[in-house]
């Protein structure tokens, strides 16, 4: 590969940036947002990227992905294509990052009084039915977090692990009725072509053979998390988003 040093965007002319932008729009913007504003993936319009402190590291991330964090190796790139994307992504840091307006101290209080910790763990504390949030601010952009609060089903995380499967809805709500009429509602933990493992709202684990079930209802597009649209709004919502965005994990 070509070693890429620090590259001032201005020296590259617009062609290189335009080429990088075109590649970025096709392959990266779905998760990282148009102009790198972030979304399901972190925003890239900031001076320091945690997995890509320098250009060789950024090149490696684009080339190889970060599979266990959901960043795929999209396709094979030529050195010139890699270079154009690096130049473009670096140019984004000159844009103004999305301003987070809320107060994170107040947001922490909103988090605590709204019962979030009954299903989410932050720094080891809380219930484990939903996803851990200890470092959520490093992985999701503020707008995405806002939507996850007011419309959780629209932002179900897509699986990055080998199970239940790459790209699968994680925390998928399922309803199971056994042949003897027993009903279990919960989230899918894992599944294969013959069996499914489920955790219910009481965090109890069940394992079923599909052949033994009367009904298996996979509620794709839904979330067990209630929507907080009517419960958290206005400045409370801004504050909660600010608090969650500040969670960068253990330093």
């Amino acid at each position: 590969m070509v070693l890429i040093g620090a590259w001032p965007a201005s020296a590259q002319g617009t062609t290189e940036i335009e080429k990088g932008k075109q590649l970025f729009l096709g392959m990266c913007s779905r998760c990282h947002g148009v102009e790198g504003g972030g979304g399901e993936g972190p925003n890239l319009n900031r001076p320091v990227l945690s997995h890509a402190p320098d250009d060789p590291a950024l090149t490696a991330v684009i080339r190889d992905g970060i599979p266990d964090r959901g960043m795929p190796k999209v396709r094979r790139f030529t050195d010139a294509e890699l270079h154009a994307m690096v130049v473009y992504i670096r140019s984004l840091s000159q844009n103004t990052a999305v301003a987070v307006t809320g107060n994170l101290e107040k947001g922490m209080a909103v988090y605590q009084r709204s019962g979030c910790s009954s299903c989410h763990i932050i720094n080891g504390e809380g219930g484990s039915l939903g996803p851990e949030l200890t470092s959520i601010g490093a992985h999701r952009a503020p707008d995405y977090l806002r939507q996850a609060i007011v419309d959780p089903a629209a932002t179900l995380p897509r699986g990055v692990m080998a199970f239940p499967g790459h790209g699968f809805s994680e925390f998928l709500p399922v309803r199971v009725v056994t042949r003897d009429g027993r009903e279990v509602r919960g989230v899918r933990v894992n599944e294969d072509s013959f069996t499914i493992q489920v955790r219910d709202a009481g965090n109890q684990l069940y394992s079923f053979r599909k052949a033994d079930l009367q009904q298996l209802d996979k509620q794709i597009g839904k979330s067990l998390m209630p929507d907080y649209k009517s419960k958290i709004s206005g400045s409370d919502l801004d504050d909660l988003v600010a608090y969650l965005s500040s969670l960068g994990g253990a330093k």
């Binding site: 075109q22 590649l23 729009l25 096709g26 392959m27 795929p72 999209v74 396709r75 094979r76 790139f77 030529t78 010139a80 294509e81 897509r158 699986g159 199970f163 499967g165 790459h166 790209g167 699968f168 809805s169 998928l172 599944e191 294969d192 072509s193 013959f194 069996t195 052949a211 996979k218 794709i220």
Partner: protein, 529 residues
């Protein structure tokens, strides 16, 4: 003293009988279902075992006979060869091993020196198995050698370089042994190789013929490339083909044109990529070709196993060859002439408006890759790929593990440089809740769906059908299972703990039927108690 001499005689008799697999035995494989002497079980590549001890009634009683753990990490795609009390396998990336059939204990193992800077672009460093002929075992390596080993000891008889790995040539497929010759194909279209199929003298390792899958200057078909793009035109040959001893023709599929997703430099049909070639077994001369995907831009290699059978099609009994192609269509061709007889999609596809009367697709150019991406069904691995289908002469059904998934195809830059990627873009698979796999039983003369058994996710394992009325298959999540060959109903299943990637085979140990398959880095042999 007398007893000892008698014992010695027995040993000599046993030794001379050990792993004798003459050509006639492979040609008559159907008469000896206790062994598994060629990649797909017989030259027709049907991956069908006549054994019927394990059947619909007793398959639920299957138990492990033994398990062998591969010593090297890596993806296992080997299809075992079984003859005379020995199982021959390959382990990733390029190791050949012989196992005692009664216990799974290794008898010998051979690993060639693979250079640190070996070039493997376009696939993981896998190996799909050995070929056997007389007393010799043959396998290919990731640095593009073909090696002949003494079947009893694993000692090298000969070792030849098939071609230059520095240019990206490598071998992953199992060779095919025919009378006196070993046929081997190559990988490397993602580095812009010019593809070929080779035949070597089994005794000496001397090359007998080479058939270029991409024509050279002055050859017929070179005008289908434009300029000099044929020089790096791809057309690999990485999955084992089939053979008709009566017609004396070898059938072999060819891979994608290079660069895969950027067609700027290669206007035209790009012969003979994404094609099935019928070649004279003595000379390699192409008797006919059928191009499934002219001017491919999605990496839809035709490197699937071509299955041979005889059937009534279009009003008369014919010798046919069929293939569930990566492009999503099932094809039936007359294998004497290459005439197109039938073709139908067996998975969702959006890249063509169908096939014309000669089987040529009406390709939609709006499905071509773009820099910003183009959503197309099927996804990059296709509706089917290298994993073996199966044909049962009992049910006349063609069994295929299929993938229902969309992909996004990107066009990118392509610049040829020896031994580097020359792909011009790539594909992203739309994994997730909507994608799934299915074991499908197709009517073998039409491709019409008879039944399907759905899988949670698309998988990559081959199938085996048996005289016991069963189809064995596996899943990406580690399920190994048996389906009713007539209805697709699941009859037995066991979680093996890792993706099943190799095709199952069947054989006898002491007169008792066994089924072998790999999952993760383990090889399992199952039998009845």
């Amino acid at each position: 003293m007398r007893m000892q001499r008698f014992g010695l005689l027995l040993i000599c008799a046993a030794l001379s009988a050990y792993a004798q697999v003459p050509y006639q035995r492979i040609a008559g494989a159907d008469n000896n279902p206790g062994a598994w002497v060629t990649y797909s079980g017989n030259y027709q590549a049907q991956r069908y075992s006549q054994l019927d001890q394990i059947n619909r009634q007793n398959v639920t009683q299957l138990k492990p006979t033994w398990v062998y753990q591969m010593r090297n990490p890596g993806i296992v795609e080997t299809s075992p060869i079984v003859a005379d009390g020995v199982m021959y396998i390959t382990e990733p990336p390029s190791t050949a091993t012989a196992l005692d059939l009664h216990t799974g204990r290794p008898l010998w193992t051979y690993t060639p020196n693979i250079p640190q800077d070996v070039i493997i672009i376009g696939s993981p460093p896998v190996n799909r198995g050995v070929a056997i002929l007389d007393n010799t075992v043959f396998f290919g390596t990731v640095n593009c050698h073909l090696i002949a080993l003494d079947a009893k000891s694993g000692i090298v008889r000969w070792d030849v370089a098939v071609d230059d790995n520095k240019k990206g040539y490598y071998v992953t497929g199992a060779p095919l042994a025919i009378e006196g010759k070993i046929i081997v194909g190559v990988s490397g279209a993602e580095t812009g190789i010019r593809g070929f199929l080779d035949a070597y003298d089994a005794k000496t390792g001397k090359r007998v013929w080479r058939t270029w899958t991409v024509p050279g200057p002055g050859d017929a078909g070179v005008e289908s490339w434009g300029g000099t793009s044929f020089q790096h035109g791809g057309g690999s040959t990485w999955v084992t083909g089939s053979y008709d001893p009566d017609l004396h023709l070898v059938y072999w599929g060819t891979g994608n044109p290079a660069p895969d997703w950027n067609d700027d430099t290669r206007p035209g049909d790009n012969l003979y990529t994404c094609s099935l070639l019928a070649m004279d077994a003595d000379t390699g001369k192409i008797k006919w070709h059928f191009q499934f995907t002219p001017h491919d831009v999605h990496d839809w290699d035709a490197t699937q196993v071509p299955i041979l059978f005889d059937a009534d099609v279009k009003g008369r009994r014919r010798k046919v060859v069929s293939m569930a192609n990566r492009n999503g269509f099932y094809y039936v061709l007359d294998r004497q002439t290459g005439e197109f007889l039938a073709g139908a999609p067996y998975v969702k596809q959006t890249w063509t408006d169908g096939l014309d009367a000669k089987g040529r697709p009406f390709a939609r150019r709006d499905a071509d890759p773009k820099v910003e991406g183009t959503l197309v069904y099927p996804a990059i691995l296709g509706g089917a790929n290298w994993w073996s289908p199966s044909y049962s002469p009992k049910t006349h059904l063609f069994y295929q593990n299929t993938r229902e998934m969309a992909g996004i195809y990107y066009k990118g830059d392509a610049e040829y440089k020896d031994g580097t990627a020359y792909a011009g873009g790539g594909g992203e698979t739309k994994n997730g809740d909507d994608a799934y796999g299915a074991i499908r039983a197709l009517e073998s003369t039409t491709g019409k769906l008879r039944w399907e058994f759905k899988l949670l996710t698309p998988s990559m394992n081959g199938l085996l059908s048996t005289g016991g009325g069963l189809v064995f298959g596996g899943s990406e999540e580690g399920n190994f299972f048996a389906l009713d060959a007539e209805t697709g109903k699941p009859l037995w299943e066991l979680q093996l703990g890792a993706a099943v990637r190799s095709p199952p085979v069947s054989f006898l140990i002491d007169g008792k039927q066994q089924i072998a398959v790999t999952a993760g880095s383990s090889l399992f042999v199952f039998g009845l108690p």
